[in-house]
Symmetry: C2
Subunit: 210 residues, 2 copies
């Protein structure tokens, strides 16, 4: 079976959420059109995804939620939660921390870091906020491999350098600058402003078409 690509991984993560809900509600099975509606894609798309994962269903009862859950988890390697850290407890950082608190995610934000002494030493949304000076020690001790940067633009590169030196292998960067890292470090750049601009563009498109 071939590895899932970007869009597929997105959908699988969404399916996983829905399936968890169904399990909590005591359901034993789920249909492709339910998943399709929840995720916002066509049922055909769902079926094809599930085919790739080699999950079988029946026309009568759809797919077994248990089998489904296990299959996705093993493909996404999310049996045990990956520990990540977050740097920069500003508005965006706080927003992310509280999102993770509410949602049972495949990840766990083990700690957050900031340079502002007013923020450090407290717990926010269940996550301890530590001083940025401790981050290197922390990464090494806890063997953290993934970090989220939500600092201001100006500090992003400096923080990235620090993280890489300490052993971080992959970074999710929300600061609106391209950070430069060694080749063997993975970076995912997420630009919220741009996402909104894009949405607005396509909004216009569809308005005109009607």
């Amino acid at each position: 079976m071939r590895k899932p690509k970007h869009k597929t991984v997105e959908r699988l993560l969404k399916y996983l959420e829905y399936v968890k809900k169904k399990m909590n509600d005591g359901n034993m099975s789920v249909f492709s059109h339910e998943l399709a509606k929840y995720v916002g894609v066509s049922p055909a798309q769902v079926r094809q995804d599930l085919m790739d994962l080699e999950i079988k269903g029946t026309p009568q009862s759809g797919y077994s939620v248990e089998e489904f859950f296990n299959a996705i988890c093993s493909h996404l390697k999310c049996e045990r939660k990956t520990k990540v850290i977050l740097i920069g407890v500003g508005n965006l950082g706080k927003a992310i921390l509280s999102y993770f608190l509410k949602r049972k995610s495949t990840l766990e934000i083990a700690a957050a870091f900031d340079s502002d002494a007013q923020k450090t030493g407290r717990i926010f949304s269940g996550t301890p906020i530590l001083n940025i000076e401790e981050v290197e020690k922390y990464i090494k001790r806890e063997r953290i491999k993934v970090a989220i940067i939500t600092t201001p633009q100006e500090s992003a590169q400096r923080i990235a350098d620090l993280l890489v030196r300490a052993g971080i292998r992959s970074i999710v960067n929300f600061a609106p600058v391209m950070i430069q890292v060694p080749e063997n470090v993975f970076v995912e750049q997420i630009d919220i402003t741009l996402s909104i601009e894009k949405a607005a563009y396509f909004a216009d498109e569809t308005l005109e078409a009607k």
Copy 2:
């Protein structure tokens, strides 16, 4: 010339940013490899994008920033800023407001709305925060067509209904629920938690590959 698709629009918006910088610095021209590095794609990709926009360059001086700027602006229809509103001035809402303040965007957040009387009546990051009860009047008076939802999950659907009733034609929704809207309303769902989970997944992938 055919209309730019999703990924292309993303890149064009990034090019635009870089070109603005170059113009501010007094540069007259820009090369494909510069843009490529800034945006994180191959120079070939850049050239192809520019070809589609019918922007011509020369091997010696690359592309004219002015021509470039005008071409992108006209294709993205961003000559005059589109006014949008934001609902929900929590952590994420504030983060977005401050991002837009710093960055010269193609959009302008004309007003923000919240139900908390402690927040309303003030100005945050240059944007007035009004009471949610005024939103319908505001949308109609200012003919706003695009709205950003950054409320808690629980209120998202209710707010969406309200917005649609008031005349909003397209919504960027950050609340982690699929909102249901009439067919003629455009919705862009942005799930930050999911983006991070996805990034973590591909991080793992690349780690293993090495």
